[in-house]
Symmetry: C2
Subunit: 340 residues, 2 copies
């Protein structure tokens, strides 16, 4: 078993080292091949380690740095003044091959800009894309991209998203994923020029299992394994699903927490229903991947708690094991050969 | 009290006269000032009336026509071959001022194309927009547009959507509505050129109460009274909300229908929970308005049942009472004066 080294930005997210350090420690016990380099303020990190009664070791090292990129900082500004920030140092550990992947809960825009600047794009990729797995009613997953790495794209980029998403999903599913384009109707004539042009490209590409258009209501219903859309649509749609799911969870919680006898019986009968229902919230999977780079970058939610951040680290481990950037390159090459 | 005449396309939707005729009859008892002209195959309509034991009267008349626009027909083709179809005749009753508004559950694309062709746009409007009211956790409504009348728009059109949505919502709320733009982040710097340019226009328009950007997860949480976006985003986001809501309703139903003792107790205690939860599905309100036309056109879901279609007729009655197209014209004029 090869070692896998993940660099973890300890300072990102809403809770900083109080979440990132315990998550690193938990992840080490989950993944025996894992090594973690925790990047950030040494004193705060050491405090957390002391609280946990955990020692530094060859599997858990700390890289000190003084500065932090705030959540409100503009990506362009963050890029110019990134020297010695925890996010920049974390990414640079991947660039210098001291780490196999990195994970950050920090400023998404800055993470995308810095990753692209430091790690560079894979050949044949015009824009990186943010992807995550959505739950489905059938208990499967659907990978959706782009979730906001780009506010607007052209058909070539959307096509590349389909290739990248397909390569990633195949490493999870171990079969050829069904790829669909998110559109405003299932008929051929529907949609804007972007989706129509991309549909034409995909339907001519036999190495991708393209199944056509799907609509928004089919997203959590296992209609496809990979769904591509521009970053504006992906971001608003994903958040709309999360907001709707939250509404239902809140409603159910209110019922189950009622102090009446009805509430009391409800708690006995349905204590498991909330957790079951929560698994349908797209928010549950933490760890969105930034695809298209010469390196593995995982974005964790800013509000991630310890188990959620462990999930994100797990996604990093998985992508290193499966060498996802190489898989994407291979898939791209095959597609380009086919299209020549 | 003035009479209000609504033309109803009897042949549109998945169920045709078996839903449209009973809905017309029910609507007549709901709205004392209402007259309905039912448009479609006379024999089928009469059959339904006979079954209901209801007579034609001065309040319920029938306009026979032979042809139907199918759901799969392309709008451009439907437009060319619309003569004597129930949808065309329904719209023409508004055009010739024999009806004050029309309602159809038929082919959405054809309805939009035909409405625009026959009724024409209001002065100052470049494109019509489809709008509906979403429920919110707080029990209020949020009007969202465009829901797919246009697959792509420019900033001027998006701005006009904001003006139209504001005029419509004000007629429901009786106060100045809070208008927001759907975006991928709340910060000023986020988003594509379209939303940025529209935001600039709205923030300079004092007769519109513009409150800035909102994100997808805030949609059903009463963050704004009117939310504007392009038709591609609006359509996918609305359907994603509906799909997510459906998932939760299905989950709950499965629990409550279990044949175990648990299911039995659950049904006694929580029979009202499903209907409560259903009110959070954006799908519940039937009757989307096509705004920007010189006439009132209401699009009902193809799958609408009798109560849902009565709602859509109710929306038509409301818009006639409040003279929504005139309100939009007045608001547009005020905005144009202000911007000169």
């Amino acid at each position: 078993m090869h070692n896998i080294t993940v660099a973890l930005d300890a300072m990102g997210g809403d809770f900083g080292p109080s979440v990132t350090v315990p998550a690193a420690v938990q992840a080490l016990s989950h993944f025996p091949e894992l090594k973690v380099i925790i990047v950030g303020d040494q004193a705060s990190i050491q405090n957390q380690l002391n609280e946990l009664g955990h020692q530094r070791s060859s599997r858990l090292t700390v890289r000190h740095c003084d500065r932090i990129i705030s959540n409100s900082e503009k990506p362009s500004l963050a890029l110019r003044h990134s020297q010695d920030t925890s996010m920049r140092v974390t990414i640079d550990l991947v660039e210098s091959e001291q780490a196999d992947a990195c994970v950050s809960s920090g400023n998404t825009g800055a993470l995308m800009a810095l990753s692209r600047f430091r790690l560079k794009l894979l050949p044949g990729i015009d824009r990186p894309a943010l992807v995550t797995a959505l739950p489905t009613a059938q208990g499967n997953k659907t990978w959706m991209l782009d979730l906001g790495a780009n506010a607007s794209v052209d058909a070539d980029s959307l096509f590349q998203f389909a290739v990248m998403g397909s390569a990633l999903a195949e490493q999870h599913l171990r079969r050829k994923p069904r790829v669909a384009i998110l559109n405003i109707g299932a008929e051929e004539i529907k949609g804007n020029d972007l989706v129509k042009r991309c549909a034409e490209m995909l339907s001519q590409t036999h190495s991708i299992h393209y199944i056509g258009y799907i609509e928004g209501n089919e997203l959590l219903h296992d209609a496809a394994d990979v769904v591509v859309c521009d970053g504006f649509v992906g971001n608003t749609v994903l958040k709309a699903c999360e907001g709707t799911a939250q509404l239902f969870v809140d409603k159910l919680k209110a019922r189950l927490s009622a102090s009446s006898i009805k509430g009391w019986i409800a708690r006995i009968l349905f204590s498991d229903l909330i957790s079951e229902v929560k698994t349908l919230n797209p928010d549950q999977y933490n760890g969105a991947s930034l695809l298209g780079l010469r390196g593995i970058v995982i974005k964790s939610h800013g509000s991630a708690d310890v188990p959620a951040l462990v999930n994100a680290i797990g996604e990093a481990v998985h992508e290193v094991r499966r060498q996802v950037p190489n898989q994407i390159s291979d898939r791209l090459e095959a597609v380009l050969l086919e299209r020549q």
